[in-house]
């Protein structure tokens, strides 16, 4: 099983200056993804605190996104890969793409990209893996979004994307602005959260069971996840033991 050491896990023990939107990470100590070591509280330990730190999504996504027919628009937060030079004499570097340039509507770009997908299909080969679209809902948000899990390579990337998607609905809900990760480790603190404003990411797997996201290695998660729901912490409490049991059964 691949290790799910995610940058920022080091912060876990040190305490974060800023609370970050993150999905639960596996393993308490130096676990190599051995899920049986998970304890119930771990699932909540690094729960999402939608404190709306907007992170940039990996730049390479733009190319992948345009190949996907259903992708709705280019991620708006991508950095310019090419530094914007003001020297008119300097020719632009080849092959580097800039967000929103040339100014062809994302809608049209997606249509044309799906053409080239079809082209490769007819040729009998598919260059990329099929997309893994799942619906994402968040309690309290008026509508759903869809994400292609294949676009991301880790829980952290996914969580950053989700945070951006739902940021406007959480602005009023982050009462606990000053919390750091250390607080989450404390189980009694967890109880206090039960009526609070915290959210946890959960997903429905192929069996139809709802689990906490973050328990399993990323690839396994992508394969088994059918939909995502960002639940209020109060409602997700019952999930942890089930998740733990299921993980125990798996390992």
């Amino acid at each position: 099983m691949a290790s799910l050491l995610v940058p920022g896990r080091e912060d876990y023990g040190l305490g974060l200056e800023e609370t970050e939107l993150r999905l639960g990470l596996p393993g308490g100590g130096g676990g190599e993804g051995d899920v049986s070591k998970n304890s119930g509280k771990r699932g909540f330990s690094e729960t999402i605190d939608l404190k709306l730190k907007l992170h940039t999504v990996a730049d390479s996504k733009e190319v992948v996104m345009e190949a996907s027919e259903k992708m709705k628009r280019s991620p708006p937060s991508q950095k310019n890969i090419l530094p914007c030079t003001n020297d008119p004499e300097k020719p632009p570097a080849p092959k580097a793409q800039v967000v929103g340039w040339p100014p062809v509507r994302s809608f049209r770009k997606n249509m044309m990209a799906s053409h080239s997908d079809k082209g490769s299909k007819e040729a009998g080969e598919k260059s990329s893996n099929p997309a893994a679209f799942v619906k994402v809902s968040m309690d309290g948000a008026p509508y759903l979004r869809k994400v292609d899990l294949k676009m991301y390579s880790s829980y952290k990337e996914l969580s950053m994307a989700l945070e951006k998607m739902f940021s406007s609905f959480t602005s009023g809900n982050c009462g606990s602005q000053g919390m750091n990760a250390r607080d989450f480790m404390n189980e009694s603190k967890l109880m206090d959260l039960s009526n609070g404003s915290e959210y946890v990411p959960t997903f429905e797997d192929k069996d139809g069971d709802w689990m906490l996201a973050g328990d399993v290695p990323w690839e396994m998660f992508v394969d088994s996840c059918k939909r995502l729901r960002i639940m209020r912490g109060s409602e997700a409490i019952g999930l942890a033991p089930r998740a733990m049991e299921k993980c125990k059964n798996r390992s």
Binding site: K72, P76, A96, P102, P103, K118, Y143, K146, S167
Partner: protein, 599 residues
């Protein structure tokens, strides 16, 4: 039910404008005025009339039937509905145009909900709604469907947030629906939960005149669609999505020979193989021959070239042809286009190359609007059309009014030629895809070309520039572009002077969108005298600072100055990455997401 929901007597109470009711004689005059003003349709004329005096203001407010809101944040729904009490049609626009290119983060705003809520209370007789770049949910559509018993026309352009579930409610509840046009919307669609909305239209004869769903990603129930078309005798415009195969299209056309506008869906077969050799094409051709009223064709999403000849019978009647999703070569285009003498609007991909454009120029003498899109919309793509094609078009299509042209290389000479040949140009949008690319023959900036456009095309209202441009180009624009209302600038200019020229010179400027150009605070401040006359200003990746933007916000209290920050404020708290500012009677909006700071 009477037209006039306010009734007769006691109408003085219901008049907008507030204050004590005017004396009786004035009321009579107002009624007379209303009877006259109801013939005034242009909103600009109405705006002018409303400024004459209070009486005219009231009369105009009572007689306005169409409400146009160019920026949904410029006025609150309540204020709009309080002033105009008898609106039947609303046009509402939301996000800035650069949102189409991914420059505006998701969840920025432009929510339809507060508007539909206000209108549900104020305009029970609402008939038409057109939304552009708004964010709306299925719940909003449901509220719409339930609130307006006489609702007739819904157009959604570049909107997002709703799904087929919302469409189903519209289909089911809006029994007088004549128009349902979905144009380049992003539906929140889910394969598992796709709703068969086509089946929800009334089972009786419908009054549908226009149905367009080419942007809906999921397949519709074809049998239901066919039945719907059959029982919609008034149907004139039908645009299906790419899931409709050419065989299915055939059947639909047979049911609706009276169509004037057709969006063909895929125009290819689902199965790659073509059964029965050429017979299919012959059958299809005779079906087209039977559609004698067709004037507008679009779609062609997966066009199989062997089917193209099927449209020959209608080409001579076509005024509008949209091949912009069809990878058609010059050889495939020429047999089609040479029949299209009446064509006025042509959208095409650059796969037709300069040669294809030459064929267009040779035949389409009446062409008014041309759009040439890139198959490969990247900076370093091959580039299949060039200055050659542009010159050909300018020589053949003298009546051209609007052009959008994507290319990789261009010359000043070609642009100057077009400026002289096409004096009717109102819209000139040239996109040289490689950033800051000079004239590929002379190596010079593209200043002279764009200068000629503003100088020679006296009717020019919309301009988009590209290529290597110095401040000089903007001096031209400021000096000659006196009618320009919309200007788009990207990767251009050297100094603040460029923007200053524009802000000082273009007296009719209403919409200005700029990206990646070296304009800073002093240029921004050069426009203070003009910003209240504009709908909006967008500047991204320029050289603005918070201080400059703050000064604008302070000096112009009725301007909403939004700073959009997407990344962590690691280095520069002073720099403003994205600025969007607009005049507003409503003040700072209360639905701004956390990444928007209103100064």
């Amino acid at each position: 039910m009477s037209e006039d929901e306010d009734g007769g007597g006691g109408s003085a109470k219901s008049r907008g404008g507030g204050g004590a009711p005017p004396p009786f004689s004035d009321q009579v005059l107002e009624i007379v005025l209303e009877n006259v003003l109801q013939f005034l349709s242009s909103r600009r004329d109405r705006n002018a009339a409303s400024l004459v005096c209070r009486s005219w203001y009231r009369a105009e407010a009572q007689t306005r039937r169409e409400l146009f809101i160019g920026n949904c944040y410029a006025v609150s729904p309540r204020r709009a509905t309080e002033r105009f009490r008898r609106i039947r049609a609303v046009v509402l626009k939301g996000k800035p145009r650069f949102a189409d290119f991914g420059l505006v983060p998701i969840n920025w705003g432009a929510h339809f909900h507060p508007w539909v809520s206000a209108m549900a209370a104020a305009y029970p007789w609402l008939e038409k709604l057109c939304l552009k770049r708004m964010s709306l949910t299925d719940g909003d559509l449901s509220l719409l469907a339930h609130s307006f018993p006489n609702f007739k026309e819904l157009s959604l352009i570049c909107c997002e947030g709703f799904s087929t579930a919302g469409l189903a409610v519209i289909a089911e509840k809006c029994r007088h629906l004549r128009v349902l046009d979905l144009i380049e919307d992003y539906l929140e669609d889910d394969e598992d939960e796709m709703v068969d909305w086509i089946s929800r239209f009334p089972e009786t004869t419908t009054c549908l005149e226009s149905l367009g769903f080419d942007c809906v990603g999921s397949a519709v129930n074809f049998e239901a669609l066919e039945a719907l078309v059959t029982r919609s005798p008034a149907l004139r415009r039908l645009r299906v999505n790419h899931h409709v195969s050419v065989d299915q299209l055939h059947r639909l056309m047979a049911r609706a020979p009276q169509l004037t506008h057709l969006g063909t869906g895929s125009f290819g077969s689902a199965a790659a193989a073509i059964p029965q050799g050429g017979n299919n094409v012959v059958d299809l051709m005779s079906t087209f021959a039977g559609s004698k009223s067709l004037v507008c064709l679009s779609g062609f999403r997966d066009v199989a070239p062997q089917y193209l000849p099927a449209i020959h019978p209608v080409c001579a009647n076509l005024t509008s042809l949209n091949f912009s999703y069809a990878e058609v070569s010059a050889e495939e285009l020429i047999p089609v286009i040479r029949h299209c003498h009446n064509l006025q609007i042509f959208w095409v991909l650059d796969t037709v190359r300069d040669e294809g454009l030459q064929a267009v120029a040779a035949t389409c003498k009446d062409l008014r609007e041309l759009r040439v899109f890139p198959l490969d919309p990247t900076e370093d793509s091959e580039g299949s059309v060039s200055d050659v094609g542009l010159i050909a078009i300018s020589e053949g299509c003298r009546k051209l009014r609007s052009i959008l042209y994507f290319c990789q290389q261009m010359t000043n000479m070609a642009v100057v030629t077009m400026s002289k040949n096409c004096q009717d140009l109102v819209v000139f949008r040239l996109c040289i895809m490689g950033r800051r690319r000079p004239d590929h023959v002379t190596g010079e900036p593209m200043d002279e070309g764009f200068g000629a456009i503003v100088m020679n095309c006296k009717k020019l209202r919309r301009l988009a520039v590209s290529g290597l441009l110095t401040d000089k180009a903007f001096a031209y624009i400021g000096k000659y572009g006196k009618l320009v209302r919309t200007l788009s600038v990207a990767f251009a200019g050297n100094t603040d002077l460029a923007l200053t020229y524009v802000l000082e010179g273009c007296t009719k400027l209403q919409k200005l969108e700029i990206r990646d150009s070296p304009f800073g605070d002093s240029a921004l401040l050069a426009g203070l005298h003009h910003y209240y006359n504009m709908r909006f200003l967008w500047m991204s990746s320029c050289k603005l600072s918070v201080r400059g933007c703050m000064e604008v916000a302070q000096r112009l209290p009725h301007l909403v100055v939004e700073v959009i920050r997407e990344r962590d404020e690691d280095d520069d708290h002073e720099a403003v990455e994205k600025l969007y500012m607009y005049r507003s009677l409503a003040g700072p909006r209360n639905d701004a997401p956390p990444f928007v700071e209103i100064l």
